[in-house]
Amino acid sequence: MTQKNRIESGGQIDRSQTHSFTFDGKSYQGHPGDTLASALLANGVRLMGRSFKYHRPRGPLTAGSEEPNALVELRDGARQEPNTRATTTELFDGLVAKSQNRLGSLKFDLLSINDRLSNFLTAGFYYKTFMWPAAFWEKLYEPVIRHAAGLGSLSLKDDPDVYDKGFLHCDLLIIGAGPAGLAAALTAGRAGCDVILADEDFRMGGRLNSETFSLGDASGADWAKAVVAELESLPNVRVMARTTVIGAFDHGIYGAVERVSDHMHTPDTGKPRQILWRIYTKRTVLAAGATERPIAFENNDRPGIMLASALRSYANRFSVTADNCVAIFTNNDDGHRTAADLHAKGIKIAAVVDVRSDAPRNYDYEVLEGQVVDTKGRLGLTFAEVKLANGTMRTLECGALGLSGGWNPNVHLTCHQRGRPIWNEALSAFVPGDHLPAGMTVAGAASGEMSTAGALQSGVQAAQDALDLNDEAPALPQAEDAPVNLKPFWYVEGCSRAWLDQQNDVTVKDVKLSHQEGFRSVEHLKRYTTLGMATDQGKTSNMGGLAIMAELAGKTIPEVGTTIFRPPYTPTAIGVFGGRHRGQDFHPKRLTPSHRWAEEQGAVFVEVGNWMRAQWFPRAGETTWRESVDREVLATRGSVGVCDVTTLGKVDVQGTDAAEFLNKIYCNGFAKLDVGKTRYGLMLREDGIAKDDGTAARLAEDHFVVTTTTANALPVYRHMEFVRQCLFPDMDVQLISTTEAWAQYAVAGPNSRKVLEKIVDQDISNEAFPFMACANITVCGGLRARLFRISFSGELAYEIAVPTAYGDALIRKIMEAGAEYDITPYGTEALGVMRIEKGHAAGNELNGTTTAQNLGMGRMVSKKKDSIGSILSEREGLNRDDDLRQVGIKPVDAGASVPAGAHLMSLTGPIDATHDQGYVTSACYSPCLGHAIALGFLKDGSQRLGERMRLVSPLTKVETEVEIVSPHFIDPEGGRLRA
């Protein structure tokens, strides 16, 4: 029989269409407008899952996002998503869902044995039981617990969906599209303000869709529909359904997740599954409504027992009843509303059990003064045991039981900025406190305004107040205006296995036990019992726990206080926080001007500070990277090589004080550098540690081009702006990054001049353009360019730069010009080998712990001028004679390797940290020398050249005898540079 619990008519479902779906492999049917939970209930399925700890059978408690129980694994394959709330999952054709947290079938869960062991599985069970022996934890306890507990399972496949991020701006953000939110939106929208109206539901209207009372002449649902239609027609209003505002952040920034494609089988091509919106708003109206709370009694968790308001939602909105015979247990008038609505739809009301003696009795069904004290039914409710006020017992036969313990305003977002809610005695609930997030006003049930008329009025008022509107308020329809009549009642006395937190299986007994064991703070109670720590964050359970705690401690509920509400408001997929920044798009790629050409050459690329740099250029027949790198080094040193060095940071420094400015940022002097010359500069941090190094080329009296290392380009620029703006604000100096403006190539090797002479339009003979010269030049008959005679490799070398768009053409031109000298492109590996051979420090040596002294450049730090770091570099601790000094290292056995990171120990002493003498920073194989070489730091190293030591790497179990040598392995006199 299909949809046996579907009510004949009514509801906001489209009966003209049918959606087929499966749950645990069995096929069912529902309609557009259904949720998975409503469709399952329509088909007579109450049992939807098993509980977390005791594996108790569970069905939905609610009809909304506060749901603790009806969690399913939605979809299959890579899109399988665990812990999805059936109560908010919009039904679509072909939906596939599975129950979770079971071993065996849902009806015969083998782990339901835990329920029989419940005496042992109380609060703190894990803390107490799995303590000893410690070794058992990892090997035995944890795997077993992990297997048995936990919620649904992941697909363990890559998420095939994509997620967007986006940014929205408005005058007024309205959170929640119930009566208060709609009234606020109408007020602000008609006044012409920029409004965003967001609601987590796929149908706007909030409780209006779940109630039978009318607004003016229309049903609540129809009124909502008409208002939404008007709002959608206004160009200044953005209506966002399926959008949950998950957090209130500083200064009017809100996070919201829009579920774009979750109601579809698969997202449309190119479309995101969800969007994380960052909403900037001047003012906010929080109209998030309220959540009904249950009452705790023995065995109150059977499928079929749910919130009275949920039964009403299912009946009125989805046209579904959980069973054809329903009982209600209430402490307030609202429970009777459910009975009346259901009764009007022809559903049998077994009785309304009200704890109050003055309960309203003007209905066509039986009202009993008393309490529901226990229930029966293995996989779903069959009987409720009632203890009447006169002490007699009565058994009610019913398949559904609605609980109404009063309503809690949804204050969550009011507390995301350190706000605390305050207690309202009349409602027996917390309402928003005074310390709201900046710009927020609360309206409707969220503010404790529980009637529809009150909600509408407060929505209008909130919008007017927020935006300071004097326009005429929209005419409000006549609406229900019932007062709240409630007698606080949280749990039935004497109960123990009465569930408070159904998702984490926390009972009244657990709360009592934790009190008995001394947990007095609500934050401790939460963590010890796990009350409110599940995916629903205790939306239906925290208040019950607080009430019991208050009673046990002899305090009031507000004295006990709440735990802190934190974002996100409802569970949020991690994927949406990542957005598009995933895989290849994790961060931007930067391509060098020669990238396309390098690809054509078959270069292997490596990522350096987001740059894709050619690492080496393999040639046919080369089987290892070393072969390629060795060839590139030998070819460069033997004739000529070319390398793209665009990635070095470049900063244009201009102004009449430019030289003085460089004097401040570099520890060595620049004031006297001649125009047309380049100088190496070492930059210190204020604490005297080396920060970065590079060159400064003086193109004019008032114009320098400064280079930084590739990785430090941005921090160095930031630092330079700090020095300019914050320390020396009256210096005439202007800075701008030009890293990407110029394509720059290093042309190195004894034949480099001959190659460049064919390209450069000017005389670049050694006399005309000596070592460290720089100039604005032209190339190829007139293209503006820059030439620097600087060398990282130790060879005769130049760096030549042209505007980036010409970079591709220039590299091809250089290759053409160099063909007769067998010009060889080289990558970062060969670059690294050559700089180690030459003994140049790089990032490995400037590693944030080393000083100029360590680097052997102590004498560069000028004492005659003020520069960043000069004073603190003189500190005693940084100037010890036996301090680390940069040295060269080579193995005694030419065949041995020298691992970077290895430590230097004496030949005979013990190998431990106390006897550590230094370490290797950079190592490579030198094809020129035919053995491994390395740079490193050694205590008093410059005095120990020729000494033999042991190089030890306990990690890789390498121990090599090495000799300490000068760090300049190649051409120590620098003759080649000046050739």
Binding site: F249, D250, H251, G252, I253, Y280, Q417, R418, D657, E660, E686, D687, L714, R718, E721, F722, Q725, C726, L727, F728, P729, D730, M731, D866, S870, I871, L872, E874, R875
Partner: protein
């Protein structure tokens, strides 16, 4: 957070990079007799108050201005935003 940039109006804090205590503007005189001590204190001894604090922020994804922001580190309330260059000048810094 939203930072009211003195020239550009409200900007998302995501566009900025944080440095810390605005006392970093008060770099000591390198020629003072107590320079070593002064620089030590400048470099290492800074306040980290729970409450109102003057901080340096750099508008990296914006106009590249350094700003001095007076912010309550508990509530994130921002009471004042100034161009650091103006603050530096007002504190007597020049060249």
């Amino acid at each position: 957070m939203i930072i009211e940039h003195p020239l550009l109006g409200p900007r998302d804090a995501a566009e900025f990079t944080y440095l810390g205590d605005a006392r970093l503007i008060d770099r000591p005189d390198w020629q003072s007799e107590t320079a070593a001590k002064d620089f030590f204190e400048y470099g290492y001894l800074r306040d980290n108050p729970a409450g109102w604090h003057q901080e340096l922020w750099f508008h990296e994804a914006g106009d590249r201005s350094w700003l001095v922001i007076t912010r309550n580190t508990i509530t994130h309330e921002i009471s004042k935003v100034e161009l650091a260059r103006d603050v530096a000048r007002s504190r007597g810094r020049s060249k």
